[in-house]
Symmetry: C2
Subunit: 353 residues, 2 copies
């Protein structure tokens, strides 16, 4: 039922400690980290969303206690927990509204409920922002003062950090940069959200597959025709295989086209935020830095970015892969709990004059 | 040589006081405001940039002293000055780099020099950000927690405020939102900055005139043909006159097309920042809220925005005109000086343990 692994020991760790909770439609990941963002323990439990949000909140709190046990710390040494959750949500109210991945967990006061069960102060952010904060705190962005993270998968998620400020938006809709308009032409592709021309309609897995289907209809040379005839499914992974194992020109061009759209999106963020770095993570990074295809993909993003950004920014802004993989979410959630704890500690005690 | 007008009296005003300096290629505006952002005095002197940056800094400092005299305050009651300047610039270093509008004022430590001559701490921001902070502090955005300002003129300027944070960027290039890519097609228009498809290439005065020239080449009905034959110049004002006085369909369509591009730009900012409001100011607002054409222009921006933004944001984010006109710059610069003063005052005195 439960995977787990342990990282640094209690003796190496620096108090205080924070729990990070990464709530997903399939699994919940929970970790305990020290004040420097180093994990002491990590575990994963199935979400079992059909059991409802209150039971979910109870099980998250239980997982936090278990993670504290595995970390070898006293529960009272844990001073806060951070929860990263899929949307839609009302962040200031700590409410889940209508999360797509959690059917039935609607209009639920999840922050308060987890806080009650866990007997801890709980911070609440969206999952893309949690991942962004994770990469900012202890990942690729650890030396940055400000950063944008694009998370590439079925959709295109985004998080924006400026200083120690996680930009959440006034209506819990900040950094939905998958939905910036990159194509305003009458023939623009339709995004999953129902609007035309968004970055996500071009650069997500969904967008890539759509472009691949169309390109295959006008192509006879690609090895993909034969593979699909064998019953294989058209996925980003299949395109990567065709590009790498079969040097398939069409597959490579489709992957590079994705990179060009991301380069355009990165320019828009650079000209709006001017961050230290723009970082790309998620499943659809074609193996990332460990893979020749991933590195070629990143080079194409950089190429488009450098060609189109202001020269100063083309040179100064770092374009790179994320480095924490699936750990970014719980690490970032814990980091946000730490920010709240520090802000709290700076305040005079209640009732002080 | 010098216009000036006075606003609230010393008796009504609330100390401390701040000077705001709006440095432009033609004029320098200087005002003194109280702690609530209400101006006590205001004056304008010609920039006379040919006399060089050091002389400029000296004259700005003199203008601050004169504005303090006109405000009826003791100079020592003035606790800081804010300088808003055209770019390019290095904000942390307080340096002008190569400002287009100030030939010869290159690589000049303007913040320090104005500070020396004025014997005041001086903050330094770019002019678009100063105007944005002015509208945020005491203009259209005074009830907002976060705001985006687009300044429409020869170019498209932008400023982004989140909380009390003016987003300046890591390389002094934040909020160059005139240069987000709104057209990625191969036929995209070239922006003044040399890159294709930027918002500024479509929605600035320059972009509008370019579009008008092209449209007139394919049109025979417009009254503009006759007006241009009479030797009148094709300007945004002439298009406004044709649209209003002559009900010219082509002119109106060109103006509304500008609004549609701005609506697209506003969606990108909404989906990136999720602010309380997105505000449009500057010379190219077609009379603004005081004019039927201005109001129709704003309606078209809103229409495009509401059609393309996430439904929650389409409803929640206010789209409006700026309200401070040419005063936004010096008011905002003074407001930024006030922010710095407050931050400074929160700190323990130097040497305290």
């Amino acid at each position: 039922m439960q995977e787990s692994r342990t990282f640094i020991s209690r003796d190496e760790a620096q108090a205080p400690f924070f729990a990070g909770i990464d709530l997903g439609g399939t699994n919940i990941k929970v970790g305990v980290v020290d004040d420097l963002g180093r994990p002491l323990s990590w575990l994963k439990i199935p979400t079992e969303s059909q059991r409802g949000p209150d039971e979910g909140a109870r099980r998250m709190a239980e997982a936090v206690r278990e993670a504290a046990r595995q970390a070898g710390i006293e529960y009272r040494e844990l001073v806060g927990a951070g929860l990263g959750s899929p949307g839609t949500m009302d962040i200031p109210a700590g409410m889940l509204l209508e999360p797509h991945n959690l059917p039935g967990w609607y209009h639920f006061p999840i922050r308060e409920r987890v806080s009650q069960y866990a007997e801890l102060p709980v911070t609440f952010v969206n999952d893309a922002n949690a991942a962004a904060y994770g990469e900012f705190w202890v990942g690729t962005g650890r030396d940055f003062h400000s950063m944008v993270l694009f998370t590439l998968g079925t959709g295109v998620g985004c998080g924006v950090i400026i200083g120690d400020l996680l930009i959440e938006g006034e209506h819990s809709h900040c950094a939905e940069c998958g939905h910036i308009i990159v194509d305003s032409s009458p023939t623009a592709r339709m995004c999953g959200c129902g609007q035309p021309g968004h970055l996500e309609a071009y650069a997500s897995a969904t967008g890539l597959i759509k472009r691949a289907e169309e390109a295959l209809a006008n192509d006879t040379d690609s090895v993909l025709h034969a593979w699909l005839a064998e019953g294989r499914r058209l996925t980003p992974l299949l395109l990567a295989e065709a590009a790498q194992q079969a040097q398939d020109a069409l597959a490579l061009e489709l992957i590079f086209e994705t990179a060009r759209w991301l380069g355009i999106g990165a320019v828009d963020l650079a000209h709006t935020i001017d961050p230290d770095g723009i970082v790309f993570g998620g499943a659809m990074t074609f193996g990332g830095a460990d893979d020749a295809l991933g590195r070629a993909f990143l080079d194409r993003i950089r190429q488009e970015f450098r060609q189109r950004a202001f020269p100063v920014l083309a040179e100064a802004i770092k374009i790179d892969f994320a480095s924490l993989g699936g750990d970014a979410g719980y690490l970032g959630a814990a980091g946000i709990a730490r920010l709240a704890y520090r802000r709290q500690s700076d305040r005079p005690p209640a009732g002080a004059s």
